[in-house]
């Protein structure tokens, strides 16, 4: 199991810069100690013989925005549906605000749900759609009208009460779905890939919108997506999942900059993975032979010479040409894409290793076939062991 199954609440570092888990935790000292909004304890979910989720544990702080990120079929939607009660768990416990809900029927759970397909009632107008949850909570009529008005105001579609869903665009429908899910002030808001049915422009707009509304209302939100950009830009914390299990839990910065496993490194932002062999190591650094050349990397503990490791380097952490200061590797440009401020190079090193670098342009953009130097700081990378786990 990855060592990062850290269940303690790790607040997102307020200031810029890399904050390790421990540092952030102590900085928050004496902060919120109330019980988590949602807590999973050793959840297993199986469909017949197929185990969709195994041994899933997570606790989510009130008012935070947590994303379950992973490829399709990794179990993230199943977990979301289990909170809602749409899927039965086969083991473990789910608590909402300290109350066990495994046996609570779905209609008594008080959760707001936003679906990828919007799931607006096509035969009801916008008002009746948004008022739906309030009606079943016996809210008096004038109060319903007021709250629906407020919710529509919040999603910036006031005055659309009389329209049918089919008269709205995709983005508008999803706003109404959001209004419908938050209007009765549920304990948790569940968002199941709410942006993937929208076109690219609308998606970015809705991303900001959802985040803003979540902040304004202070609602606890659980967001499911396979889009790493959505996850990185919106979340307080990201749970990276693969094949029914958790790979890593952390702030966006943590999972991006210090991936716990090879899967996380590859899934978030396609990091370069250099296979190598340790030739010398002390408690702080290691010398690794990779792609036929020697590099120095930071290493938290001594490693036995001869052990196999993988060096994970983000394309942005690589420098090219004159900018290289450490760990100089030489290679040849396979392809170059000009992006204006920077360029992306595919570089062949030693005939076997292909490296992707995203570097600011100084001088001219190198062309295919030209020799190129690249390098990275010893601190600018993460070391994985033979099993693909981060060495710490």
């Amino acid at each position: 199991m990855p060592d990062s199954h850290d269940l303690s609440e790790v607040p997102r570092p307020a200031a810029a810069g890399v904050a390790r888990a421990g540092v952030g935790g102590s900085a928050a000292g004496g902060g919120e100690t109330s019980r988590p909004a949602v807590e999973f304890r050793d959840i297993d979910i199986a469909y017949g013989k197929f185990v969709a989720v195994r041994d899933f544990s997570l606790s989510i702080r009130k008012g935070s925005f947590v994303t379950l990120l992973g490829p399709s079929g990794c179990g993230k939607t199943t977990i979301l549906r289990s909170i809602a009660g749409l899927v039965d768990i086969s083991g473990g416990q789910i608590m909402i605000d300290g109350r066990r809900v495994d046996d609570v029927p779905i209609y008594k759970r008080n959760i707001g749900l936003v679906f990828q397909s919007y799931a607006l009632f096509p035969h009801k107008n916008v008002f009746d759609n948004v008022a739906f949850g309030l009606k079943y909570r016996n809210v008096p009529k004038p109060e319903i009208a007021r709250k629906v008005g407020q919710a529509l105001e919040m999603v910036r579609l006031p005055g659309s009460e009389k329209k049918l869903p089919s008269q709205l665009s995709g983005g508008q429908q999803q706003r109404i779905a959001l209004a419908r899910a938050i209007v009765f002030e549920p304990q948790v808001l569940l968002l199941d890939e709410p942006l993937s049915a929208l076109d690219a422009n609308m998606r970015e707009e809705m991303r900001v919108e959802i985040k803003k509304i979540q902040k304004e209302t202070g609602i606890t939100a659980i967001f499911v997506t396979h889009d790493q950009e959505e996850a990185l830009s919106m979340s307080d914390r990201i749970v990276v999942m693969n094949a029914g299990a958790v790979e890593q839990i952390g702030t966006p910065q943590e999972v991006y900059e210090t991936p716990a496993t090879a899967f996380v490194a590859d899934f978030l932002g396609k990091a370069n993975m250099l296979a190598g062999t340790v030739s010398k190591s002390d408690g702080a650094t290691a010398v690794v032979l990779a792609a036929g050349q020697t590099v120095n990397v930071v290493c938290p503990r001594p490693l036995a010479p001869g052990s196999k490791v993988t060096i994970v380097v983000r394309p942005q952490k690589l420098s090219v040409g004159a900018a290289v200061s450490a760990n100089r590797l030489s290679g040849r440009v396979v392809s170059a894409s000009y992006l204006g401020g920077s360029a992306i190079y595919e570089i062949d090193v030693g005939g076997k290793t292909s490296i992707r670098a995203n570097a600011p342009i100084s001088g001219r953009v190198l062309r295919e076939g030209e020799a190129i130097d690249l390098g990275f700081d010893p601190e600018g990378c993460v070391l994985l062991d033979e099993d693909g786990q981060r060495i710490s």
């Binding site: 779905i106 679906f115 397909s117 799931a119 949850g133 079943y136 089919s166």
Partner: protein
């Protein structure tokens, strides 16, 4: 200049529609027109009529309450059959839709199996079930529960039963198709907002399946009101429907002009109901909502 053909050429569209259009014109529109013309012909004696134009047939239909009674009764039986089909057909349709049974296609196939046997033979089979020597009466007599056979055949109940037997699959399929069109996440959404299963059914499933139910009701009504074989086989003379009246007029009395008049009447009345129904039952409105 010769225009080049394109994939969505209107000329191509007309050519593709032409066979059906010709069939409809020659085998539907023209015969009806001929029948309509016949209603103004003069009946001389059995099997003989002249083309001297008259309104006598229409006058007879409009003034003789004998015909009106048959017409009203036909509409009543049709409506009753349709309503019974709706009530009895919704549940199997809902069951087939909701079941988690792996081989759903088998259940749907079962609905279609009766169509493999001739409709007339299926209707006849009721005689072996309900007749004086039928299964039920013989069994009850043998068990000593009754002393003489129950009169279950040759009454209006038997006619409606036969029509139900014939029409239920149409109703079930219609309702099933509209249920199948419902996005199931809508039900999850309703449940997550506080509905019990029964409330979610009332709020979402039922209203969204109404177009199918409405279409099924109309279909069953029109088919039942236009039926001829079932009342002929399972009803007594008093249980005849308008279709039987037409048959008797044409084949018994050999009065073709009056037979044509009655046929046109049934055609117009059922067509009128179908038109009013589709226009005012809000079906188009619901369909529009579903399109989103």
């Amino acid at each position: 200049m010769e225009r080049r053909w394109t994939l969505y050429d209107p000329r191509l569209a007309w050519m593709l529609v032409a066979p059906v259009l010709l069939l409809l014109i020659f085998f539907l529109v023209l015969p009806i027109a001929v029948m309509a013309a016949y209603t103004f012909f003069t009946f001389v004696t059995a099997g003989v009529e002249t083309s001297a134009l008259t309104t006598a047939n229409w006058h007879e239909f409009l003034t003789d309450s004998y015909y009106h009674g048959f017409l009203l009764k036909t509409l009543r039986v049709g409506a009753m059959t349709a309503l019974l089909c709706g009530v009895l057909g919704y549940f199997p349709a809902y069951f087939i839709w909701a079941t988690t049974f792996k081989h759903k296609w088998l259940l749907l196939l079962l609905l279609i199996v009766p169509f493999w046997i001739s409709f007339t033979i299926r209707t006849f089979s009721w005689i072996n079930i309900l007749g004086e020597q039928g299964v039920i009466n013989v069994a009850l007599l043998k068990l000593g529960i009754i002393n003489e056979p129950l009169p279950m055949l040759y009454n209006e109940g038997a006619v409606i039963l036969g029509l139900l037997h014939f029409l239920l699959p149409y109703m079930i399929l219609n309702v099933y198709v509209s249920l199948e069109g419902i996005d199931r996440t809508l039900i999850s959404a309703a449940r997550s907002m506080g509905c019990t299963s029964a409330q979610a059914f009332r709020e979402v499933t039922l209203p969204l399946s109404l177009p199918g139910l409405a279409a099924g009701l109309l279909l069953c009504f029109v088919l039942a009101a236009g039926s001829y074989v079932t009342p002929q086989l399972l009803g007594s003379g008093r249980d005849a429907l308008f279709g039987n009246l037409i048959y008797d007029t044409i084949m018994g009395e050999l009065n073709w002009p009056m037979g044509a008049t009655l046929s046109i009447v049934l055609f117009v009345v059922l067509g009128f109901f179908a038109a009013i129904y589709t226009r005012y039952m809000g079906m188009s409105q619901i369909v529009k909502g579903l399109a989103g």
